[in-house]
């Protein structure tokens, strides 16, 4: 174990540190974190409409008296407004945060970085929509933005355009290609003037690229990115092998003392969170849960696998309460349980400890893999719907699965079954831990 740890320290940690501190990846990660209040507001709106509109409609039929009542239809309308201002334009919110953090990473005025990224994004977005009249005639209308360019379908476009616009802007600022005003000018005015030339070049560059691409292909840059980058990338992430690789990688990182979800945040958030938001957009647009585009999303990991934290450590805490004869382990479990219920597992990870503990390496690795196999199969077979609602990661297990799937009882039951399986597997190793303790005591 020690020689492997040394190898990790010398060869792996420096690489992980480089990835973890790569300024563009850090900016992407921080941008996803920054938009969380907006994502969560949209998720709450979606969930409330599931309980006030979708489930009652399913139970009592369309236009039932509950949904049609003034109060409930008002609540549904307000939720619709919240969704419209959040998840329906999530790419717009994201690109502002990304532009801000990229500029900050380059030590350029950050607010202007965000504003310029938003302008560049809109500059590459089609300015006209086509609507179909009641007579079936297609009518083009200029001056409208189709919101599907701004929702989760536009996230990769926002990512690419945001990076391009804000990097160009920041590099020009750093190269001092700016308008300089005397020191007597107030800082806010001075900063705005500093950003004029870099912002102008950056927005023009994106607009020219979008124009040329449209000229050459007849398609908007957003459509091309969606078709040739975002969808293939997300499809790749949906394979069973890809999901298992992510699970194993995160578990290995944590076990050896590396912040797994931090290092893999660009994959977890950039790919799987986009899948969550895409499912949400499809659901809100009226797609049945059985027809949602993505089977495995960011919330699937938390709903069915990382209950109580990575490794399903809430199951270990329960297993210790049931099987452990060691007073110290029971004391740690007692201390860890309240936080474990909210998916915080540092006390149990370092208290037992689990990190670098050979006894717990096997369950630490196999429990998440087994839970993933079960959850993936159940979702693929349609036993449970795919996760489509973003839920805060501190939501207790089982309730998480229920909410993340729009109130699916089957999903909550699946999470419970997974939890029981995890308790049984962890329990076997807690019993081994008891035996090791007894043998050590006998030897003394």
């Amino acid at each position: 174990m020690k020689s492997f740890t040394n190898w990790m320290e010398q060869h792996f940690v420096p690489v992980a540190a480089k990835i973890g501190s790569q300024k563009h990846l850090v900016a992407i990660r921080d941008a996803f974190i920054a938009i969380m209040p907006v994502t969560m507001a949209g998720a709450v709106a979606t969930l409330l409409n599931v309980f006030f509109r979708d489930l009652p409609n399913e139970w009592w039929g369309l236009e039932n008296s509950f949904v049609s009542s003034d109060i409930v239809s008002g609540i549904i309308g307000v939720n619709g407004n919240v969704w419209w201002g959040t998840l329906a334009i999530i790419s717009l919110v994201f690109i502002f945060a990304l532009g801000y953090y990229i500029a900050k990473a380059y030590k350029a005025p950050a607010l202007a970085g965000g504003v310029i990224a938003v302008a560049a994004f809109i500059a590459v977005t089609p300015q006209a929509i086509t609507v179909v009249s009641e007579a079936g005639e297609e009518i083009g209308a200029w001056g409208h933005i189709n919101y599907t360019y701004l929702n989760s379908s536009g996230l990769f476009t926002a990512l690419i355009v945001g990076l391009l616009a804000s990097i160009v802007y920041s590099k020009l600022i750093n190269a001092n290609i700016t308008i300089k005003l005397p020191d007597s000018v107030p800082p806010a005015v001075s900063k705005a003037f500093t950003a004029i030339i870099p912002g102008l070049i950056s927005i023009y560059l994106c607009a020219i690229i979008a124009y040329l691409i449209n000229l050459g292909t007849g398609k908007a840059i957003g459509d091309l990115i969606l078709e040739y980058i975002q969808q293939p990338f997300l499809s790749l992430s949906q394979g069973f092998g890809a999901v298992i690789i992510v699970i194993i990688a995160v578990q290995l990182f944590w076990f050896f003392g590396i912040h797994g979800t931090n290092v893999l945040a660009p994959v977890l958030d950039g790919v799987y969170l986009t899948a969550t938001n895409s499912n949400n957009a499809a659901y809100t647009a009226g797609t049945a849960v059985s027809e949602l585009p993505y089977l495995w999303t960011r919330g699937s990991f938390d709903a069915y696998v990382w209950m109580g934290g990575a490794g399903c450590t809430i199951a270990l805490i329960i297993a210790i309460f049931i099987f452990s004869k060691k007073d110290d382990a029971r004391a740690i479990a007692k201390l860890s349980a309240p936080m474990g219920a909210f998916n915080i597992n540092e006390p149990v990870m370092f208290g037992m400890p689990i990190v670098l503990n050979p006894i717990y390496f096997i369950p630490w690795m196999i429990v998440p893999v087994i839970l993933t196999i079960i959850a993936y199969a159940a979702t693929a077979m349609g036993v449970v719907p795919p996760v489509f609602t973003p839920v805060p990661w501190v939501m207790p297990p089982i309730i998480y699965a229920f909410l993340a799937t729009g109130g699916s009882i089957a999903a909550a039951i699946l999470a419970l079954i997974n939890l029981v399986i995890a308790v049984v597997i962890w329990g076997a190793f807690v019993l081994i831990g008891n035996k090791v303790e007894l043998e050590e005591a006998d030897a003394e």
């Binding site: 740890t5 990790m8 320290e9 940690v13 420096p14 992980a16 540190a17 480089k18 990835i19 973890g20 501190s21 990182f253 944590w254 050896f256 003392g257 590396i258 912040h259 797994g260 931090n262 290092v263 540092e346 006390p347 990870m349 370092f350 400890p353 990190v355 670098l356």
Partner: protein, 71 residues
Amino acid sequence: MIIISCPIKQDFVIETVEAIDTFQYKYEGKNGINLSFSVNTEDIEDAIKVAKAAIKSTEVGAVLYFQVKAA
């Protein structure tokens, strides 16, 4: 006294924490993954925050999985 639980890069953690200026941290010894430090302040909560922030502010520390707690 504070304890920093960190399975890898322990030498780096010791070096980083002992280099903090806000308080004076002194490495006292280790027990498995746990590194003990004495610190010249009564405000242990603050000492924990400062040590945590110092480690996280480094390139390597940003990807380490560690815990800082009172002894």
